[in-house]
Symmetry: C2
Subunit: 108 residues, 2 copies
DNA sequence: TTGACATGAAACCAAAAGGTGTCATATAAT
DNA sequence: ATTATATGACACCTTTTGGTTTCATGTCAA
């Protein structure tokens, strides 16, 4: 499940700050490429490439409407990130994990 | 808070599969460089570079013990990832988000 | 039908990423 | 003292990344 179709996975996709900005932009709003690229100091083509990488990771979906291609956010692949994170969550410094470590404790 | 000291942040640090493996290896175990690199098909030097990147992101801490340098996991920076993820969590496919989207809906 | 948009595709580029091998240095061990 | 170990520091190489510019194509508007 969640087999990454392309060569880009979700970890790589969100590594770039611009791509994270794009995702935030698409929150609640389906947007065409030019509207998206209007928010960045880089060329439309560069934004288009970022969008393709996000699409490969499944984080956005495209829909062609007339002469424009509209992109929308797809959060489902973030589940993988969530579960990855979940593995380390028990080591965090908070009441619950502190309790856990106390109970399970066998360290120095 | 969590100001990234070096040029590598946590998003970039976890983008690489090898580095994620290193983090998993260090779970519960402080390890010297050679012991870590023994788990990978790449050279010790390469592993060392990965460790430096992880250290820049604050995900590992080093401690010199005699002639070896031991690394241990530091999960605190993952909090940033967690809160980033948290922003999108409300859009996931579950009862609550479905209800939200129904209420706020103004799409075709 | 003639332009004006919106986008994708291709060729190209500089810099960063991920590796390698070699060498220097500090610390054990004999 | 001498040798072996553990690691960091360099120099170097190849591929990937993030960008650019230019050109082709499809679609909407006059």
């Amino acid at each position: 499940m969640a087999l990454p179709s392309g060569k880009h996975d979700v970890f790589q996709a969100i590594a770039d700050p611009t791509r994270r900005e794009v995702l935030k932009l698409l929150t609640d709003h389906e947007m065409p490429v030019s509207a998206i690229s209007g928010h960045f100091p880089i060329t439309r083509t560069a934004v288009s490439k970022h969008l393709r990488i996000l699409a490969e990771a499944g984080l956005v979906k495209e829909r062609k409407v007339g002469r424009e291609t509209r992109y929308r956010l797809e959060t489902q692949p973030l589940q993988e990130l969530k579960s990855w994170l979940n593995y380390y969550e028990r080591y965090w410094e908070n009441k619950l994990s502190a309790l856990q470590r106390f109970v399970e404790s066998d360290e120095e």
